[in-house]
């Protein structure tokens, strides 16, 4: 698998925004980004013409500056957006935005009969349709779109495989049906339903869904470092393998990029593990049939908006980021804290937690390194103030959390892994809630992304590369201490 083209574009935009910021003439250089990326006379790579390419790039810059593309009036210049980003006190709480003009407005999901239809005598399709949506005309089957419920029975019934479904990748990837098309076929996010899992970001083939970046907010604070402001990076456990070198070199690189210090969120994971294992033991003693983990921001959003009743089975333990940020703010109350992770859902978590000031992702950190010419491999190793445990560092991959809790729990644990939230796995959770038990086990680890955080929406490398790097790190890490 190679990296998708639109992800390259998004990164390039971020690099240019950071360079514009560092140039000393932010507003003007931000304004020029679309023109520099598509100067006069360049070949048109993706769209119909250079003007449209620039228009899409302009929207990508708006998202990169942290604003909603939906709210753009097309009159405001990028220079003005850049200035507004500098003045902004707090990032917007909705972390996603869609570029109208990049969204192709793919054909709505529907089932239709292709030319392969042989007009056979058996007419299995007609028989299979419970809604009488299929008729026969001019020697071929025809589906009446008004009657069709997209049940797809005819697709499996046709012996020629002549019936197909048009798919809409963003809608398909959304586990909670939060994307709908407006009358023009352009995708819209229903923020009442959206859990900010970021699956649509990676699945839209046009790269039309963006995170609203907080990179300018972070850059602003990095500048203030000279005025004595401490700015502390908190790196997610999934960071191993996302950059060249190991996490000790990475710490130096992050400091070189302007941060005061770096803490591993795995440090907070160690507290999560202890609390969650104790909670698990207690709940099992009380005869509660199962408990689900509570560290995944996407899952927490899902519970809040779509399955609040399952709350009674969800661990009350806080997330690793919660404990890490709490610790950092207790050490340096006036510090600015920045979470660095793979996941847009964490922006929601941060919005409701005053200890977490900003969230940037691996792509943004990578762009910062590139813009500042920082080579991680040339950096010295720096030790972390607190060295995290093997179990805490394993939180970013599927089964890591369940294994960690099982390691400390005294009760016999029987883990169930929800490896990615989707329609099927959501049904597993719903069933467990309905029946008041989970047939498969007693500790349910829920990861919104497939493979865990290493499968997040803003990762730099494949889950396999991340896993290999993590394995190397874990070999050298110590087990979490068991208390008696």
């Amino acid at each position: 698998m190679s990296v998708k083209q639109f992800i390259q574009l998004k990164k390039e935009v971020l690099i240019r925004i950071i360079r514009a910021f560092l140039s000393g003439d932010f507003a003007n250089n931000a304004r020029l980004i679309p023109f520099e990326m598509r100067p006069k006379g360049t070949e048109v790579s993706y769209r119909c013409c250079i003007y449209k390419e620039r228009a899409v790039l302009r929207d990508r810059v708006i998202a990169g500056l942290g604003f909603s593309i939906e709210d753009d009036d097309e009159i405001t210049e990028l220079a003005q957006y850049a200035n507004r980003a500098l003045e902004r006190k707090k990032p917007h709480f909705q972390p996603l935005t869609i570029i109208d003009i990049a969204c192709k407005g793919c054909a709505a999901t529907r089932v239709f009969v292709t030319d392969i239809c042989q007009g056979c005598v058996a007419r299995m399709c007609m028989q299979s349709c419970k809604f009488n949506a299929i008729t026969f005309a001019a020697g071929k089957s025809v589906i009446d779109a008004k009657k069709c419920k997209n049940c797809k029975m005819c697709i499996s019934a046709c012996p020629y495989g002549a019936i197909a479904q048009i798919r809409v990748p963003c809608e398909d990837s959304c586990p909670v049906d939060a994307i709908e098309k407006n009358e023009n076929g352009i995708a819209r996010i229903d923020y009442e339903r959206c859990i900010s899992c970021g699956k649509c970001i990676i699945n839209c083939p046009f790269g039309a869904v963006h995170e609203k970046s907080q990179i300018v907010d972070v850059l602003k604070n990095l500048e203030n470092k000279s005025k004595g402001v401490k700015i502390i990076a908190m790196t997610a456990p999934s960071i191993a393998g996302q950059f060249p070198g190991d996490i000790y070199q990475l710490k130096s690189a992050i400091i070189k990029a302007g941060f005061t210090d770096v803490y591993e969120v795995a440090m907070g994971a160690d507290i999560t593990i202890k609390n969650e294992a104790a909670e698990f033991d207690e709940r099992m003693k009380e005869g509660v049939p199962f408990m689900t983990t509570s560290c995944c921001a996407g899952y927490n959003g899902f519970i809040k908006k779509h399955l609040p009743d399952i709350k009674k089975y969800v661990s009350d333990t806080k997330t690793p980021l919660y404990y890490t940020a709490q610790k950092v703010k207790s050490l340096y109350p006036s510090a600015i804290t920045v979470f660095i992770g793979p996941c847009v859902a964490k922006k929601n978590e941060a919005f409701y937690n005053d200890n977490i000031d900003y969230v940037i992702n691996y792509e943004e950190l990578g762009a910062l390194f590139i813009a500042k010419n920082i080579e991680v491999l040339d950096c010295e190793k720096s030790e972390y103030g607190v060295e995290s445990s093997k179990q805490g560092r394993g939180f970013g991959v599927t089964s890591g959390v369940a294994k960690a809790v099982s390691f400390l729990a005294k009760t016999q644990s029987d883990p169930v892994l929800i490896n990615g939230l989707n329609k099927q796995t959501i049904n597993v959770l719903k069933q467990a809630l309905r029946e008041g038990k989970c047939a498969q086990g007693n500790i349910v680890e829920v990861m919104c992304c497939e493979n865990g955080c290493v499968g997040g929406n803003a990762v730099i490398c494949s889950a396999k590369t991340a896993q290999n790097a993590l394995n190397k790190l874990l070999e050298k890490s110590k087990d979490i201490k068991k208390e008696n």
Binding site: Q8, P244, S462
Partner: protein, 83 residues
């Protein structure tokens, strides 16, 4: 016969811009081409600096020649052309 030399740049610029995914080639190439090709991951090849802002990372060097915006397909194609 002289082996074809392939260096995948794993410096920060290239890695972030996608050479992380090219690491798969290190396993894939010996299976595909046997010992006709020698492939390694390499520290920054210096191209990100010399080509600067208008460069197109990730870079892969094949027998001294630089392939820009490298993808798995592109690298395989280049090797096949040389064989």
């Amino acid at each position: 016969m002289k082996k074809i030399d392939v260096k995948i740049c794993l410096g920060t610029s290239c890695y972030v811009m996608g050479s992380s995914y090219l690491q798969e080639l290190v396993d894939m190439i010996p299976l595909k081409f046997g010992d006709k090709v020698n492939i390694v991951g390499h520290n920054c090849l210096g191209e990100c600096v010399s080509r600067g802002e208008h460069g197109k990372p990730p870079y892969v060097q094949i027998d001294g020649e630089i392939v820009e915006s490298a993808t798995i397909e592109k690298v395989l194609e280049h090797i096949e052309k040389k064989l």
